[in-house]
């Protein structure tokens, strides 16, 4: 729920009436929707007691089944249902016909309808053979495929449609009752709460009231059974009619509620983006109709590569829809303004200059917004503009009146008069590449993809490839155990193993190993490799480090033409930066997004994936065919790639396209596994703690003891904060400092104040860092701050003032792969009333507390235990769901906090 909805709920509570959330409707209502009201018999789902078929004009036809558990009766009713809905199905299939749409009373009814359509589609001919039933089922199955899609309104629940447009003065779970929900649109009579309670007494979804079942339905059904069994057709008909009358009343009640809800929904004018949804659904339905007419059948669930394609398609459509929603000035844009995802402000300066033949326009945008998730390097697009303008964010500065953004744009062929000018009001949103061609490319690539061969462990030869590499650059990992693993990986590469996975703890030297692998492939085996990273920054970093370490290795950084190349990269003699794959190159480095958007990507002998746990299996399958041998290096404790679409379809599939690629390969025994044995970044005590909490089953240690890495304060202890620092430095390499328990906002002013005091005193006390025999004075660049949310980052930067220019303050997501001698981490659960899956994500906490070499101070309210004890896990669980990240997070959080408490490392500020 956004702030906008929260505000609207408060307003509705006092107005005693629902308030509109938006002046325009972002989803369509068809001119000829099919209104379906299914009623199930309790305990017999998906068998129907009755189903209502209606239109917008108030015409309702009710079909009932006096004996739902009886298969013949049930299918007879469904056959009658097929005949009733046939006119709708044929109209929707016509060119320029109406948009196909089914509207039901609630989300539960939507799920029940899907089960019914599924039953009709896959009806076993030995149960019931009816061509019409199956034909109708095949067409109705379209709605199953569209239900969970954001960009579709084909199967719509009246409760969902209403709550998308109106806020009520009750909680969201009460909104699931259509009757209670619609009480809120009636004029205020001062008795809204009584009316709602009364409405709630009568079920409005798919089930009937248990008392009604017992007192009315059960005797009628019993009488029908008895009469039927004794062939007393007269009594049976009488009972059937009485039952039908009762069920008609129940269905009519729900149908009238749907009509009421639709009247309210249609009173809000349709926005242009709703048209796109309507035409998308119509086109998709027509396509399906043609396919079915030609004898095709949709499978219940796609398997293998087609399942991946479906996932990719949904993902892409979801992205496109999210972008399209922001193009329209309405509720979603207003919500995005409140979160800072859309920046709304005035252009206060404009500068233009030329680099070569390219005209560059720089503008400064000033907004009154105080927070934004947008940061340097993001690409923004100008909204409400007839010409497409895209800007790169050079800087975001936070002032008293709001944010100021420095933006750069390549003007291209657009004329000066089209450029945004000083004084103009502008709205900008994050530009997301939607790769319209990605699904086509995926289809092409996946057609030829075959499952990987089963890994077999062969005895590895004893050749020492570290010595081979030594001729070309630094080779050893400076630790005997790590060297052994590195050599095993090199041997497996040389031996020709198709899939090699190297899971590693934080700071184990993953990128270092990747550099060695590239050198081995290019300089020793004379084979080329394709290195995949997730972000451009990571890709640049790999190229710079590898090129410096192995100057004879010829490398290419494959970029998109719009990418601004960092100068360090262009100055390297053995590196070519280009947007086209070059020949004679040992190692090409690119992002996975770049490789998945080009039709003919470069191919190589080796595909090496860095931070592999962030690569979804769907994306991996697209890359799979680009090389014969695959090497994946990554850290499974870190934050996983986000799934933006519901994954119910794939939840029980161990080869699910939404899962991290290395996990799938390892679980399916399709890869050889080697594990780097130690963390060179973390001191032993931190490593022990992090290993137990986040890496069960993957033991590792730290390279250095806390005694080898210390902070020494040259100036004496003067304040309470100094005492805390002294105690923290003496206690170990990971210590928590807490404030008294309190429920707080995401930006906890008390905690941020404490953080600033600690940082200031740390720098003021002429602190010296002892780091594995090296000794250097601590400065702001050696300090880092990690938080969970962008709002926290913005507040901390503001509170640190000028220091924020040197201290890296960022979210856990962006801190992945980085380290600092001293880290401050804001505990994700601090001050939380009800932690969500976001805060409990084990990866987020793992990244936050594993970035330090010397000391990590975890700042929190002293209520973590409470938050964990009172955590209410979600009720919902997919059948056969394999992993449970939220629980893993909860366990890890408890373990960390218990350990800190037991070892007296929680200091009270």
């Amino acid at each position: 729920m956004s702030d906008l909805t929260a505000y609207a709920r408060i307003r509705a509570y006092f107005a005693r009436q629902a308030v509109p959330l938006s002046g325009s409707r972002h989803f369509p209502i068809s001119r000829r929707p099919l209104l379906l009201v299914p009623l199930q018999m309790a305990g017999e789902a998906p068998a129907l007691l009755a189903i209502g078929i209606g239109d917008l004009q108030g015409n309702l036809q009710v079909l009932s089944c006096p004996n739902p558990p009886n298969r013949d009766h049930q299918y007879a009713m469904l056959e009658a249902f097929s005949m009733e809905v046939a006119p709708w199905l044929s109209v929707w299939a016509c060119e320029n016909g109406d948009m196909p749409q089914i509207i039901c009373q609630s989300e539960r009814a939507g799920t029940l309808l899907q089960a019914i359509f599924d039953k009709m589609h896959y009806c076993d001919p030995s149960y019931h053979h009816s061509a019409l039933l199956q034909e109708t089922g095949r067409r109705l199955f379209f709605f199953n495929k569209r239900f969970e899609r954001l960009e579709s309104a084909a199967l719509l629940a009246a409760t969902t449609a209403f709550t998308q447009l109106f806020a009520t003065g009750q909680d969201p779970s009460a909104d699931m009752h259509l009757g209670a929900l619609l009480e809120w649109i009636k004029p205020d009579d001062g008795k809204i709460f009584e009316r709602v309670i009364k409405a709630e007494e009568r079920p409005a979804s798919v089930s009937t009231d248990p008392d009604f079942d017992r007192e009315t339905l059960a005797p009628l059904i019993k009488s029908y059974y008895r009469a039927e069994r004794s062939f007393d057709m007269h009594t049976a008909d009488k009972a059937r009619n009485a039952l039908h009358t009762q069920l008609y009343t129940e269905v009519r009640y729900r149908y009238d509620l749907i009509l009421q809800a639709l009247r309210a929904v249609q009173s809000i004018p349709e926005a242009p983006c709703a048209r796109a949804i309507a035409s998308g659904d119509a086109a998709s339905y027509r396509e399906l109709s043609t396919y079915i007419d030609s004898g095709g059948r949709l499978p219940r669930r796609f398997k293998g590569n087609r399942s991946t394609l479906e996932y990719l398609h949904r993902d892409q459509k979801n992205e496109e829809h999210e972008m399209a929603r922001l193009d329209m000035p309405g509720r979603h844009r207003a919500e995005a303004r409140l979160t800072g995802e859309v920046l709304s402000g005035t252009i206060v300066a404009r500068r233009t200059y030329k680099t070569g033949r390219t005209q560059i326009v720089e503008i400064d945008l000033q907004t009154s917004q105080g927070r934004t998730p947008i940061h340097e390097g993001n690409e923004l697009r100008l909204l409400d503009s007839t010409t497409e303008f895209r800007f790169r964010v050079d800087a975001v500065t936070c002032g008293v009146g709001g944010l100021t953004l420095a933006l750069t744009m390549k003007a291209g062929m657009r004329s000066v008069s089209e450029w945004p000018d000083v004084g103009d009001h502008a709205e900008l949103a994050l530009y997301r590449r939607t790769y319209s061609a990605k699904v086509k490319i995926a289809a092409e690539r996946l057609r030829n993809a075959s499952p990987a061969s089963i890994a077999t462990r062969l005895p590895l030869p004893s050749r020492n490839y570290l010595l081979v590499l030594k001729k070309n650059g630094e080779a050893t990992m400076n630790n005997k155990a790590a060297d052994v693993v590195a050599n095993q990986v090199f041997n497996a590469m040389v031996q020709g193993h198709s899939n090699i996975v190297v899971p590693s703890p934080p700071g184990a030297g993953k990128t270092y190993l990747l550099e060695g692998c590239q050198a081995l492939a290019g300089l020793h085996l004379r084979k080329n490799s394709l290195v995949v990273a997730h972000t451009n920054t990571q890709a640049d970093d790999i190229v710079i480090r590898t090129a410096r370490r192995f100057p004879r290795l010829r490398m290419q950084r494959l970029i998109s033409h719009a990418y601004e190349v960092p100068p360090e990269l262009t100055n390297l003699p053995n590196v070519i930066v280009s947007d086209r794959a070059q020949t004679g190159i040992h190692s090409i480095v690119a992002t996975s997004a770049k490789l998945n958007e080009i039709g003919s990507p470069p191919t190589a002998a080796f595909l090496m994936i860095d931070e592999a746990w962030q690569l979804r299996y769907s994306d991996y399958l697209m890359l799979q065919g680009l090389a014969g041998q695959h090497l994946m290096i990554g850290d499974f404790g870190q934050i996983r790639a986000l799934n933006k679409i519901p994954v119910r379809n794939w939840a029980d599939d161990p080869l699910g396209p939404h899962l991290p690629a290395p996990k799938v390969l390892l679980d399916a025994n399709q890869a050889l596994r080697f594990q780097l044995p130690l963390s060179r970044r973390l001191p032993t005590d931190s490593a022990e703690l992090i290993c137990a909490a986040f890496y069960p089953g993957m033991p590792f240690t730290g390279l250095s003891t806390p005694a080898m890495r210390q902070l020494v304060f040259r100036s004496s202890c003067k304040t309470h904060i100094d005492r805390l620092l002294d105690q923290a430095a003496a206690a170990g390499s990971m210590v928590a400092i807490t404030l008294p328990p309190s429920l707080t906002f995401v930006t906890d002013a008390g905690l941020i104040g404490l953080l600033v005091d600690l940082v200031n005193r740390l720098l003021a006390r002429r602190t010296v860092v002892l780091d594995d025999g090296k000794e250097y004075p601590l400065n702001a660049r050696h300090v880092g701050v990690v938080a969970s949310r962008r709002e926290q980052v913005a507040s901390i930067r503001q509170a640190l003032g000028a220091l924020a220019n040197d201290i890296l303050v960022d979210t856990a997501n962006r801190y992945q792969g980085l380290e600092r001698p001293v880290m401050f981490a804001l505990h994700p659960l601090s001050g939380m009333m009800r932690p969500s899956a976001f805060e409990l994500d084990p990866g987020r906490m793992c990244v936050s507390i594993s970035r330090h070499r010397v000391l990590c101070l975890v700042l929190s309210r002293d209520d973590i235990d409470n938050s964990l004890v009172n955590y209410i896990p979600e009720d919902d669980r997919y059948l056969g769901q394999l992993d449970d990240l939220t629980y893993d997070g909860m366990r890890a959080h408890s373990q960390i906090w218990d350990h800190l408490r037991q070892s007296n490392r929680i200091l009270r500020a």
């Binding site: 906008l4 408060i10 959330l21 325009s24 003065g169 969201p172 209410i872 997919y878 629980y887």
Partner: protein, 370 residues
């Protein structure tokens, strides 16, 4: 010398004249859905239910929770699965490779004790039989059946005494040293369309049985490692056969462990709060216990309307949902106060100022989109 009140008498005293209903798996699961509610915890640990309190104390008839059709269907499905030495169920478990080809031994504890007329003696015998089977399993005795139907596991609930929990099934292959809990569910197996809430609820129950097993094994001095998965046997649509699926229940086990550890101590706190001699059979005593109202309460607690009325009187932000509650609570604001802040009332604390800024920004955007 201080007298120690025996636990059962403590429970009886606190319950007063309200009829007894010892907590079962559903009651313990209910606690885990609202762990901060002292009212619900005290009622459960006093061996009664919110529905009974509503009826006996507030004089209102609680609404029937389950339809007679569902109850009949459930019973029939259960009978079909367990009759004839659980032939249908064993066939399913073998087909799903949950049991091995030779794991066909079944023991139905309910059937074995059918002839005992005295309820207490029957329950004791059932617990004894279950204990014996657990010992056999732990020691690798081949007499341990692969499938135990209606086992009776005695669980300690701290200050709330002991209760006997009845898992539908305990399942283990011959080569496994621990039983996995199983549940028979009469709802249909609908592939990925199977209702997530139903699955979640079954997992919750399996979690309770998992912890019960762990506690009993500990009590019997046996190795107390338990399985982290449970089995849900659902109805195969169009038949009376079942489909069995293995489900991860680690989360549920952990939740139940936490709830029992924390909430079983509430009894003594409640007695202290109400004062000696006061019981839960008086309305004012019930209202003295702090509730934690939330919209979800309507799904599992018969007292939710009473708590909602209280919340409405207090202008409690929870009435508008968890998100609004999370937004207003850090500033210690009621809905009424939030409305005043929206209307421009000067904030009193820095937290109120922050909240007002957010609300006014939202108000501006709301007006903008109208």
């Amino acid at each position: 010398m201080a007298s120690v009140t025996p636990i059962p008498s403590l429970v009886t005293k606190l319950r007063g004249s309200v009829p007894e209903s010892p907590p079962d798996a559903r009651a313990i699961m209910r606690l885990s859905k609202n762990p901060r509610c002292d009212r619900l915890a005290a009622i459960t640990m006093a061996h009664t239910t919110p529905a009974m309190i509503l009826q006996e104390v507030f004089g209102e008839t609680p609404k029937e929770a389950q339809s007679p059709f569902a109850i009949a269907k459930g019973k029939r499905f259960e009978r079909e699965q367990t009759d004839r030495d659980a032939l249908r169920l064993i066939t399913t478990l073998l087909a799903e490779c949950i049991l091995g080809p030779n794991d066909v031994s079944v023991l139905n504890i309910e059937l074995e004790t059918l002839t005992i007329k005295d309820a207490k003696a029957k329950k004791d015998r059932q617990v004894e039989m279950t204990d014996e089977i657990l010992r056999w399993k732990a020691t690798g005795d081949p007499r341990a059946p692969a499938l135990v139907i209606q086992a009776a596991i005695k669980v300690r609930l701290g200050a709330a005494g002991t209760v006997v929990l009845r898992p539908d099934l305990l399942i283990a292959r011959a080569d496994e040293s621990v039983y996995r809990p199983g549940e028979l569910k009469s709802y249909a197996y609908l592939h990925h369309l199977t209702d997530e809430k139903d699955v979640g609820q079954a997992c919750g129950q399996l979690g309770v049985y998992g912890v019960a097993l762990e506690d009993r094994l500990k009590y019997l001095g046996l190795p107390s490692a338990i399985a982290d998965t449970g089995i849900i046997a659902m109805l195969k649509p169009g038949s009376m056969d079942s489909v069995a699926r293995t489900q991860n229940i680690v989360r549920d086990i952990s939740t139940v462990r936490r709830i029992i550890a924390v909430r079983s101590q509430i009894l003594t706190d409640t007695i202290h709060l109400l004062g000696e001699g006061n019981a839960l059979d008086v309305e004012k005593n019930i209202l003295k216990l702090t509730p934690c109202y939330g919209g979800q309460c309507r799904n599992f607690c018969a007292l939710h309307r009473k708590c909602r009325e209280e919340a409405t009187r207090q202008s409690n932000p929870a009435l508008l949902g968890e998100e609004v509650e999370a937004m207003l609570t850090p500033a210690h604001c009621t809905i009424k106060r939030a409305s005043e802040l929206c209307a421009g009332s000067p904030p009193v604390t820095p937290d109120e100022r922050m909240l007002q800024d957010r609300l006014l920004a939202a108000q501006q955007q709301w007006r903008f989109v109208q």
